[in-house]
Symmetry: C2
Amino acid sequence: MLSFTEENYLKTIYHLSDSGLKSVLTNEIAEAIQTKPASVTDMVKKLAIKNLISYEKYYGVKITRQGKTEALNIIRKHRLWETFLVEKLGFNWGEVHEVAEQLEHIQSPLLIEKLDEFLGFPSADPHGHPIPDKNGKFKVARQIPLAEAIGKKVVARAVKNSSPAFLDYLSKIGVYIGATLQVIDKMDFDGSLEIQIDAKKKVYISKEASENILVTE
Amino acid sequence: MLSFTEENYLKTIYHLSDSGLKSVLTNEIAEAIQTKPASVTDMVKKLAIKNLISYEKYYGVKITRQGKTEALNIIRKHRLWETFLVEKLGFNWGEVHEVAEQLEHIQSPLLIEKLDEFLGFPSADPHGHPIPDKNGKFKVARQIPLAEAIGKKVVARAVKNSSPAFLDYLSKIGVYIGATLQVIDKMDFDGSLEIQIDAKKKVYISKEASENILVTE
DNA sequence: TTATTTTTTTAGAGTAATCTAAACTTTTTA
DNA sequence: TAAAAAGTTTAGATTACTCTAAAAAAATAA
């Protein structure tokens, strides 16, 4: 069984590697986990011995099939808890991350199965990120940044940046996961967009923001 | 802030001391926490420095006012989570303890307030044990063992022994917290009782069992 | 009240995770 | 392609918690 710390490393490596596609360097992990590169080297060796990642000195790590399975299970738990916090307890979507970071380490397969059922087997968390099923499977519709949907009518599916400040901003202007967004116009001088939400409210959003909202057509 | 381990020691000391009344010896703590007396001595010194207990070498520890507050908060969290697991997720009352042992250490006052509200501010957990409020206050109706309620009509309020085996047995014969129990007869030769549950089903229960069911008149 | 037993503490060591400083590799730059 | 810079690893120390074995204190029995 993995320790709290090992789970955090594994999850971080999975995310940094783009779901296991690329290899990840020591410094990136250190930055993400807020620790020193020397500590990462130590932990990475431990995870390699357990066959969760493969480690080549000086060239970073790649997650193994086994490591991916473990990582997806942690991500599943994280996203189910976030869904619970928002849907059942009434948290704002910007408040849930830190609590879910703790809850994701609770060890009880039965608890997670029952929680999943209680939530109605959701396929995405409050930020629109897909929730892997028991076997680590999930489907993602092809999503594009809102910035690339000029003139189109699309549905908001996820956010790329989950910082509380950004989520707070979105709530204020009325953008939420599931909202229908029509991109009316693009300002040439700064790339900001004029959009209409749910065929009602019209707002302007910055280029930066439009690149962090993922949508489907 | 207290570590996971410190919280477990404090909670255990609180329970062993009868809610802070008596002092508790090193060996009792070691037994309860499944560790060695030498480890207890170390930890007890740490907790004493933090003013959560007072420690007199060779004579055991007493919990302080501050320690009691912390302990009650952990117990509050434990019991709210147990209630959640049974009422919302459909766990059996014998399955919840171990999971709640983990959940009680999650650090988020907001989470606990929202959970409390979601559950409708319950005053007792599924075993009938009182849930302290935010300020550590709770009221206990005067409870007596069923064994002392001969001939009376009472309401089951709590169990003294929370072992899965006992809880399982109670479920099987149909006794639950809140059930109305009428003690019809007491067998002289072994002290077992004939009881009627909710004015319906009649069953025999052993002396042992009747001492572990707490009731109010 | 002395001797024996039981309980508790101390001393010293081990494990997991972390750190700093120094050494070593790789990458970049000139 | 040699020198400088950036990134990574190693060595050795630190903290929190645990343990065993030995020493010390308290409780019990003779």
